[in-house]
Symmetry: C2
Subunit: 296 residues, 2 copies
């Protein structure tokens, strides 16, 4: 299969959903503009696409789970807005555009992040027309799973550790903690969410977990590598910004070659975990391979 | 009934739940410390107590809905942490103590807020032992309701308007928008959540809505009045801070006497909406009267 065609098609579905979601103006227009600005600033929509692909691997139709997939992008986008703030990473550019607080001011950027995070849960718990296959219990489980992956035991915890580790000597344990919590947790949850919404068998969910966790980590390792080797124009941010910010990264701790090897290992392990799945999991396998080759 | 005894007892239940919730240390201790610092900084726990009282009014036992009540306090506390940030209200004191960012730094304060907001939804969707009376559907509805009341169509929207209205000439429409969205929406939702969890009849839920919305607004009007008339030691912040920050307030727009009259009217309307309820709603009625007399 041509994975770039698949990715483009599914990204199109997600983008269309996001666009229509914010098509009617709300009462606080400036806040909405700020949220939409960051949501529309591009991005691969990898979390939603993984959710859709996992749901398809379990025999469902991607269109049935778009609200839940889109909610994952809300959460990812909020985390980027807050990460970029002066009190955090203090970034001026994101995906080649000025960061949210550069355009809307710091206060509004904080609120745009808060709004996206909150709206994600409104979307996750919403009662729009729902396939009978998706039960209330499955939706509750999904909300719980996402909240845990995004919260203090997950993404926010990883971000806190990242913040506290600036200027610290790199060490393997801290680096692993940051990457697993800050990035891998929500990516792994995105995959599992697709399986839970499909009410897939427990052994299939185990397979999806065995796929999602290494993929999540591989994603961050490749990000670290791209920050050393990538092209600034393709990345949308200056190459070497991790180094400049004294971030702990895989290449810094292990070197480039070992980091690439690690990413390959993780991807192999992820694909190996999908053995129980038939050809409907082909997109998941192809996404794993694609992650190794991506340039941005 | 002596409402101060009731408030103290219910606050005790909520505080005990919050305390036990964070009793086991998580992996990111500094983040947890920052969250617990603001959660433990006092406060009347008015949102959780209203939720418990509404659940009791519908015939339930308060202990059954503590996780949902506590989640409301998580959300309220996150909103205070973010409101106090330099990019927002830039407050150094809250309830007589240094604000979160003064103690933990701006970056950690942003993350503590993010963590509390996210953890609220983990708590709301959790699967701890649950009374059979509380259905999955009711829990989903509660999550949706809270997310909407706290998000861009509610609290975050009100906060954004507040931010944009600094230094603006006070006008009735904007003031009403800010107060209804920033404060009243989550308080009204807190009351409704108690009814929804009890799966109360639609007419009872209507009664609770008719109570919660004016109570939410009255709460903010009294806050505005206390900022003019209250004692700094009792308030835990300097009197006159709204004036100093050029906030739009009821006293500024309508004068003190008219504002007091407005608060009384709202409380009367709230109590009137509870006609359909029997003596089990007595605490709700007493809370409404108490709000008028509070000193902090």
């Amino acid at each position: 299969m041509d994975i770039t065609v698949y990715l483009k098609e599914k990204k199109g579905l997600v983008d269309a959903f996001l666009h229509s979601y914010f098509s009617s103006p709300i009462t606080q227009k400036r806040l909405q503009d700020s949220m939409v600005y960051s949501l529309s600033a591009g991005g691969k929509r990898i979390r939603p696409v993984l959710c859709l692909a996992a749901y398809e691997a379990c025999g469902g139709e991607a269109e049935e789970v778009l609200p839940w997939a889109a909610a994952l992008e809300f959460i990812h986008t909020y985390s980027l807005i807050h990460d970029d703030l002066p009190a955090m990473d203090n970034d001026d550019l994101r995906r080649g555009k000025p960061t949210n607080h550069k355009v809307f001011g710091e206060g509004m950027a904080i609120l745009a992040g808060d709004g996206l995070l909150t709206e994600a849960f409104a979307l996750l718990s919403g009662f729009s027309v729902r396939s009978p296959r998706i039960t209330d219990r499955a939706v509750l489980r999904v909300i719980h799973e996402i909240a845990q992956a995004a919260g203090l035991q997950g993404m926010v915890g990883g971000q806190a550790q990242d913040l506290l580790s600036e200027d610290a000597e790199p060490d393997a344990e801290t680096l692993s903690y940051i990457h697993i919590h800050k990035t891998a947790a929500l990516i792994a949850a995105s995959v599992r969410v697709g399986g839970i919404l499909a009410s897939c068998a427990e052994e299939h969910l185990l397979g999806l977990t065995g796929y999602g966790s290494p993929i999540g980590l591989a994603f961050q390792v490749v990000d670290d590598i791209l920050d050393v080797e990538g092209e600034t124009e393709v990345l949308g941010k200056p190459r070497g910004s991790d180094e400049k910010k004294k971030k702990m990264t895989y290449p810094k701790l292990y070197g480039l070659e070992k980091s690439k090897e690690k990413a390959r290992e993780l991807v192999d392990r992820a694909i190996g975990s999908l053995e129980i799945f038939d050809e409907k999991a082909e997109p998941l396998r192809a996404i794993a391979r694609y992650l190794l080759e991506r340039k941005s």
